[in-house]
């Protein structure tokens, strides 16, 4: 069997994608008739169940997902994406003398990155909320918790809609990316493609043949940074500690593999703390994280290579955990974006001024974590960074909080076709 389909109660295998695609396509008309308010009620129930479900408590990001699924949040997202009126999703709405509606593309094929266990839900829920049937391909054959999330969703309910019914409009599958004919079949079946992943994955998936009308929504590889200004470093101890703790949370979650996780954090030269002393503050917070759940050999080698490269260089310095490759703080004064090592590896770079960071920014940079005591400077950095291509400027601790817009895109509004009626 070459296609593995994850179901709330287990898995099933298929020889091809054809039956899976046919099954979800068959639910397209039914889903179009489900009111958006009913979908919101169902996801709200899903949120409550997730918060109570003992099996998903340990799943990284599950609590954030639950908060994100709450009716209030999803309603806000819909209003943001649909010009304040989610009813466009239920049918034509008057607009002056004319009418406007938001129709689903049809079948949305979604390719997931393997770095964030809850990511499929952040793609699947918008897909279903916009009444698309969804074919979700995981990056790995291991469900990594998605099986349990599907189970909780299938048990959820709202008046007029059961979770297991809704899941008939979606399929979560895995097949080896080397099976080119399956990748092609998935792409050819798509009315829209949502692609999450690194450069190689994005290039391979966007090269696949697709129907002429099919749109592609790409969340490709990105790099994120942090910046701490002089006034924060010289000012209130508590505020500085909070900023460092926030950055360390951003580093720890999803093992620093998300595109929103800070890799290089720039600190302004200041009169109070040396670069080493700032590094030691990061080290103290990293030390409190406890051991990592696991590490692959490649990432371990990358960490050890970075440590050694920083250690042998007299212009650099390094502070590292003594219990293996648990965490690392690399210190230097080269105003550059360091190659992401991930897995609790922070590059702390001292610069004369935060303005030295601006030339390094480009559309490749997604999120800028700003820990500034000077509000005007913070706004000036945000203005300059977003002009250069960055799309999110947030406080430390919020860098990995999935929100809309993401990567500069309002995903929900891109999952529909805007249609007009002029009677």
């Amino acid at each position: 069997m070459s296609v593995l389909r994850f179901l709330p109660g287990g898995t099933e295998s298929h020889d091809s994608l054809g039956p899976v695609v046919d099954a979800i396509r068959a639910r397209q008309a039914w889903l179009a008739d489900v009111p958006v308010d009913t979908l919101l009620a169902l996801f709200d129930d899903f949120a409550g169940r997730l918060m109570r479900d003992p099996h998903t408590q340990g799943l990284e990001g599950a609590m954030f997902l639950a908060a994100w699924l709450k009716r209030n949040n999803l309603e806000n997202l819909l209003r943001l994406n649909f010009n304040g009126n989610p009813a466009y999703l239920d049918g034509f709405q008057p607009r002056g003398r004319d009418y406007l509606a938001a129709k689903p593309h049809g079948l949305v094929a979604m390719w997931m990155a393997g770095n964030v266990a809850t990511l499929p839900m952040f793609s699947l829920v918008p897909g279903l909320l916009t009444k698309n049937v969804c074919l979700v391909k995981l990056a790995q054959p291991e469900p990594q918790g998605i099986d349990r999330l599907l189970a909780v969703l299938s048990e959820s309910g709202a008046e007029g809609l059961r979770g297991d019914e809704l899941l008939e409009a979606a399929a979560v599958v895995w097949f080896d990316y080397g099976q080119g004919e399956l990748s092609e079949a998935m792409s050819r079946a798509a009315d829209a493609k949502v692609i999450w992943g690194g450069q190689a994955a994005v290039e391979a998936i966007t090269r696949l043949p697709r129907p002429e009308h099919c749109v592609e929504i790409v969340f490709g590889p990105k790099y994120s940074i942090g910046v701490i200004d002089r006034k924060r470093l010289e000012g209130d101890e508590g505020a500085l500690d909070e900023a460092v703790a926030g950055f360390v949370r951003d580093v720890a979650i999803f093992d620093q593999r998300a595109c929103s996780a800070p890799q290089t954090i720039f600190v302004e030269r200041n009169a109070r703390l040396s670069l080493r002393e700032i590094g030691e503050r990061f080290a103290r917070h990293l030390e409190r994280l406890g051991p990592k759940p696991g590490s692959d050999p490649y990432t371990t080698m990358q960490i050890l290579d970075a440590r050694a490269s920083w250690a042998v260089d007299e212009t650099r310095d390094v502070i590292a955990s003594t219990d293996g490759a648990n965490w690392t703080v690399c210190l230097d004064r080269e105003a550059s974006l360091k190659e992401a090592v991930q897995s609790r590896t922070v590059f702390l770079t001292e610069v004369d001024s935060w303005r030295k960071v601006i030339p390094l920014l480009s559309p490749k940079v997604q999120t800028v974590g700003i820990a500034f005591a000077d509000r005007e400077d913070a706004l000036a950095l945000a203005e300059a960074a977003t002009r250069a291509g960055a799309v999110r400027c947030v406080r430390p601790g919020l860098m990995n909080n999935y929100e809309s817009p993401w990567d500069g895109k309002l995903l929900l509004s891109q999952l529909v076709r805007w249609v007009t009626l002029k009677p």
């Binding site: 990155a113 593999r257 260089d313 590292a320 992401a340």
Partner: protein, 381 residues
């Protein structure tokens, strides 16, 4: 910074020489560890004094050398560092040659500086190891490579360094391949046939790199329908299996078809594990198919993440330890390979110490996700 006193230096050198000269697989692990640890500690500390970058590495990441309780406490230097830094403990005039790794596409090759003492030790160490696998007598050697690989000069490739090392075991050396102007290697059949005609009934040694042996010698010979009668031949080969695995050639098939071609036993086809960063410290297959650490070095397999040594039966990252180098910090090196620690002191072949099997090169992980990007204006190293 001061180096060791001449007396201590001489004493250390004598201890290393004893280990090189003595039996290679006779010490059980506790005894070996007790002998090696103080030597490795002194060598690392001395290297730190003579090679300031390594001194910084030890100071920043090594902890207190006096607190090292076992070889696993010695901080291993990743071999990748040699691709970005020239780590030398000797002045330029004392560098005998520079060894270069082959390097993969887009990567800088590793550069290893060798002084006279290191070169001398490496040669003797290799002979000591080979003696225990193929016997003490030197043999005619057919190198399944081209002479250009060991061209004279101050720089030498990994292949060249290994060929030179094995050459110390030869009564006569013949190169089986010819390097064409475009770099392609082709067999010199008249020369090969002459070698087997002259020496076929003697104990012979053949040496080459696994992929070259297979593609330029075995497959070519099979295509020609060639067969040799060298019942006493031993083939030593080294190098990655990745390319052969891609051709679906297993280690067993490699040994069987090569042995059939040479007319020897498949057990005489010996794979060995080694690297340009530690020439001389090689790990040759024993009859049970395991690789053993020699007396003057050791092997550790470390668990990814925690870096703790694995238990027998587990796989991890291979670290190799050696007392040979005097010109570069190569006493504890973390390789880019994965292996299984098969056991300690209990190999059916009777050799003592830790023994392992190479499993694969460490490859880029698939799951690094959307944050796995290269910074646009990065400056590394």
């Amino acid at each position: 910074m001061t180096s060791l006193t001449p007396q201590l230096h001489a004493s250390l050198a004598a201890q290393v020489d004893d280990l090189i000269r003595g039996p290679q697989y006779a010490l059980d692990q506790p005894e070996k560890e007790a002998r090696l640890l103080p030597i490795v500690r002194e060598l690392c500390v001395d290297m730190g004094r003579r090679c300031p970058p390594y001194g910084r590495f030890l100071e920043r990441l090594g902890g207190d050398p006096d607190g090292w309780q076992s070889l696993a406490d010695v901080p291993p230097l990743p071999v990748s560092v040699f691709k970005r830094f020239q780590l030398s403990a000797v002045p330029p005039e004392r560098i005998l040659r520079e060894l270069h790794s082959s390097g993969t596409t887009g990567q800088e090759p590793a550069r290893i500086v060798i002084d006279k003492t290191t070169a001398f030790r490496q040669a003797r160490a290799l002979v000591s190891i080979l003696k225990e696998h193929v016997g003490a007598a030197r043999r005619p050697l057919l190198v399944l490579d081209a002479a250009e690989s060991v061209a004279e000069g101050e720089q030498l490739s990994a292949r060249g360094a290994a060929i030179r090392g094995v050459g110390n075991f030869a009564t006569e050396t013949v190169f089986a391949l010819l390097q064409l102007p475009d770099g392609e290697l082709v067999p010199e059949w008249p020369r090969i046939e002459r070698f087997f005609n002259e020496h076929g009934d003697e104990p012979l040694l053949l040496f080459g790199f696994t992929f070259i042996v297979w593609t330029r010698f075995v497959e070519e010979a099979e295509r020609r329908g060639a067969r040799f009668s060298a019942a006493q031949a031993v083939l030593l080969h080294s190098g990655g299996w990745k390319n052969l695995s891609a051709r679906a050639v297993s280690k067993a098939e490699f040994a069987a078809r090569t042995a059939a071609l040479l007319g020897c036993e498949p057990g005489a086809v010996l794979d060995f594990y080694g690297m340009v960063e530690q020439v001389g410290t090689v790990f040759v297959d024993c009859p049970a198919g395991n690789k053993h650490a020699p007396a003057f070095g050791d092997v550790l397999v470390r668990r990814p993440g925690t870096l703790e040594p694995v238990a027998p039966g587990e796989t991890g990252i291979i670290e190799v330890l050696s007392t040979l180098p005097t010109s570069y910090p190569g006493h504890a090196l973390l390789t880019e390979d994965q292996g299984e620690l098969v056991g300690v002191d209990d190999c059916p072949c009777g050799r003592k110490g830790r023994y392992f099997r190479f499993t694969r090169r460490i490859e880029r992980a698939d799951v690094r996700g959307c944050g796995d990007t290269f910074a646009q204006s990065r400056e590394i190293g």
